[in-house]
């Protein structure tokens, strides 16, 4: 069953250059410079219940804008979106009780109060029954390991702890859909990993549908089987991450260290040379020839160490972005 269905969705921001000062404000009543940004262009996609989808795209691609339309913050300029059978922009509370939106860069908890107070406020806003609240809270605090920080003022928490509290606040009403805009931004590797593990598990156990945007490829690689790539507001890829890599990656990276100095010219025949110092070379070799080349180098040269690596996913994505731009 599809819980999200998007057809030809577009958003053009139409805004006036805002002026400061009373006099400029009055003047701007009569003459204002109008500006347009086509942030999302004709996007169509379907997302099924329980999917965990990653939105990828460079800065300004339109990821956040898309999430804002799906959660009813912004009206689409054209096209339509249905989420759980509702039109998001109508902002019906029956709909709002079934999803949550977490933005990594924004703080939704009460800043100068302990997180617990925000949870209680959410309990009232979402009309969560006592029993359910108790159980869900216990479960989430256990999973995220935040039992002992609930009574500390939010502003005294570390970024990672705060993010965990944000997630708890968002999940207390057991939403069916979770929109996450850069949930791991600014976190250290350990915290990022904790959040990832949590999301993976929660998605698996609760069948909750998650859409996540991130600039960290590790997030996407660890979590999402399906990725949607958006660039300049257009959808340029929608499918499996594995398939994407297979389609765009035709080579592997061969990294060799030698015990004696080598001549650079000897390597050109194997593939393109990425890096070269006298005793160290990095080569990009055709995928299906990688093994053969490695074997040949190993037998004909004084090799100290040899590694066959997958291409860095970040590089692939960057390559896809720039290839699309040139079109």
């Amino acid at each position: 069953m599809n819980v999200i269905s998007v057809k030809n969705l577009s958003k053009t921001y139409e805004y006036y250059k805002k002026q400061s000062g009373l006099w400029n404000s009055v003047k701007s009543l009569f003459h204002r410079e109008k500006l347009f940004t086509e942030a999302v262009k004709n996007i169509s996609l379907e997302i099924a219940e329980g999917e965990l989808v990653g939105f990828l795209g460079p800065n300004g691609a339109g990821k956040t804008t898309t999430l804002k339309m799906l959660s009813g913050i912004l009206y689409p300029t054209s096209g339509e979106a249905t989420v759980l059978g509702y039109i998001p922009a109508k902002r019906q509370s029956a709909f709002q009780k079934q999803f949550a939106l977490v933005m990594g860069q924004k703080n939704q908890l009460w800043w100068d109060l302990p997180a617990m107070e925000s949870f209680l406020l959410n309990k009232a806003i979402y009309e969560i029954p006592d029993e359910q609240f108790k159980n869900t809270l216990a479960e989430l605090t256990e999973l995220l390991d935040i039992k002992d920080i609930l009574d500390i003022q939010v502003r005294k928490l570390s970024l990672g702890q705060r993010m965990k509290c944000e997630l708890t606040a968002a999940l207390l009403h057991s939403p069916k859909i979770l929109f996450l805009d850069e949930p791991t931004i600014g976190l250290d590797v350990v915290s990022q990993n904790n959040i990832r593990e949590f999301l993976k598990r929660y998605n698996r156990e609760k069948k909750i549908t998650i859409i996540l945007t991130s600039h960290y490829m590790d997030d996407v690689a660890a979590l999402c089987e399906r990725v949607v790539i958006i660039n300049f507001g257009e959808l340029i890829y929608d499918g499996g991450l594995r398939a994407l890599l297979d389609e765009h990656v035709d080579h592997k990276i061969l990294e060799v260290t030698f015990t004696e100095d080598q001549d650079q010219n000897g390597f050109a025949k194997y593939g393109s040379i990425k890096e070269f110092t006298a005793r160290h070379v990095v080569l990009a070799v055709k995928k299906d020839e990688a093994k053969k080349v490695a074997a040949e180098i190993l037998t004909t040269m004084p090799v100290d160490d040899i590694l066959i690596n997958e291409v860095n996913i970040d590089d692939v994505i960057r390559h896809i972005f720039s290839a699309h731009r040139k079109k």
């Binding site: 139409e14 805002k18 404000s25 913050i73 709002q96 109060l113 107070e117 806003i125 009309e127």
Partner: protein
């Protein structure tokens, strides 16, 4: 309804635990308030040195009018003013996003967000002062009129709220509203004095476009029997009208909301 009472009780509780840090602040505010009050009294006293009646109002009546004005302002501050003034920021920096995705009325959540406990001292002071004034000058108000006075003050506060909301909704179009808020605040101080000093045409404005008459002039006028009961009807009608208008205008502005790119 029950849901909103619940929400409000949580907000109230939070205001207390948060404001505990600002106790000292409350006392400074209270002292400045007392000094300011004293100066105001001296001014009015000077005015009445040469006459017994100004624009149909006697000295005790003017004192009473002023104190109701201050009380009304402080109650408005206690519940709403800071929240209203924050709306432009919430709109321009995109904080409104989180209000728009939660299943609770956006306007309610915006105008009740914080409670300004710092006004408590002043509200108590004003209440005592009013009691003392009634006693000292032998002003008599029947229980019925007292009730009407109280009721009209509350409607006056709702009118201030609706008006403030309309002004600040303008920030869907304009970047900064604080100078308008400030101008309005200063202008609103005129309401301390009997509006009968204004020429009739100007006075009509204070009932309509610049609705300052509802804060204290009409409540006190009716309460002291200086204005007829028709003004009660006027106040009720205007409260409903302005609240409705504020809601509609908000929804209209909201269509322009573009959030902020974050």
């Amino acid at each position: 309804m029950k849901k909103y009472l619940k929400i409000y009780s949580i907000l109230l509780k939070n205001a207390f635990s948060r404001d505990a840090h600002y106790r000292a602040d409350t006392i400074t505010h209270w002292i400045t308030h007392i000094i300011w009050l004293g100066m105001l009294y001296i001014l009015v006293d000077v005015l009445f040195r040469y006459t017994n009646v100004i624009a149909g109002w006697t000295r005790p009546e003017v004192f009473f009018l002023m104190n109701i004005f201050i009380l009304s302002q402080q109650i408005f501050l206690f519940f709403f003013r800071d929240n209203i003034y924050q709306i432009p920021n919430i709109i321009t920096d995109g904080k409104l996003d989180s209000y728009l995705v939660t299943p609770a009325n956006t306007i309610f959540m915006l105008v009740t967000k914080q409670i300004s406990l710092r006004a408590t001292g002043r509200i108590i002071t004003q209440t005592f002062l009013l009691g003392w004034l009634l006693f000292h000058y032998n002003l008599t108000i029947s229980i019925g009129n007292g009730f009407i006075l109280f009721f009209l003050i509350i409607l006056g506060i709702i009118i201030q709220l609706a008006h403030g909301l309309i002004m600040n909704t303008l920030s869907f179009w304009w970047l900064r509203i604080d100078n308008i808020n400030e101008a309005w605040f200063n202008f609103g101080q005129t309401a301390k004095y009997p509006l009968t000093v204004l020429p009739k045409t100007l006075r009509v404005l204070t009932y309509t476009i610049i609705p300052i008459a509802y804060q204290n002039f009409i409540p006190v006028g009716v309460g002291l029997g200086k204005l007829d009961f028709g003004f009660i009807g006027l106040t009720i009608t205007y409260t409903i009208f302005l609240s409705f208008l504020a809601g509609q205008f908000w929804n209209f502005g909201l269509r322009r909301y573009t959030s902020a790119s974050s």
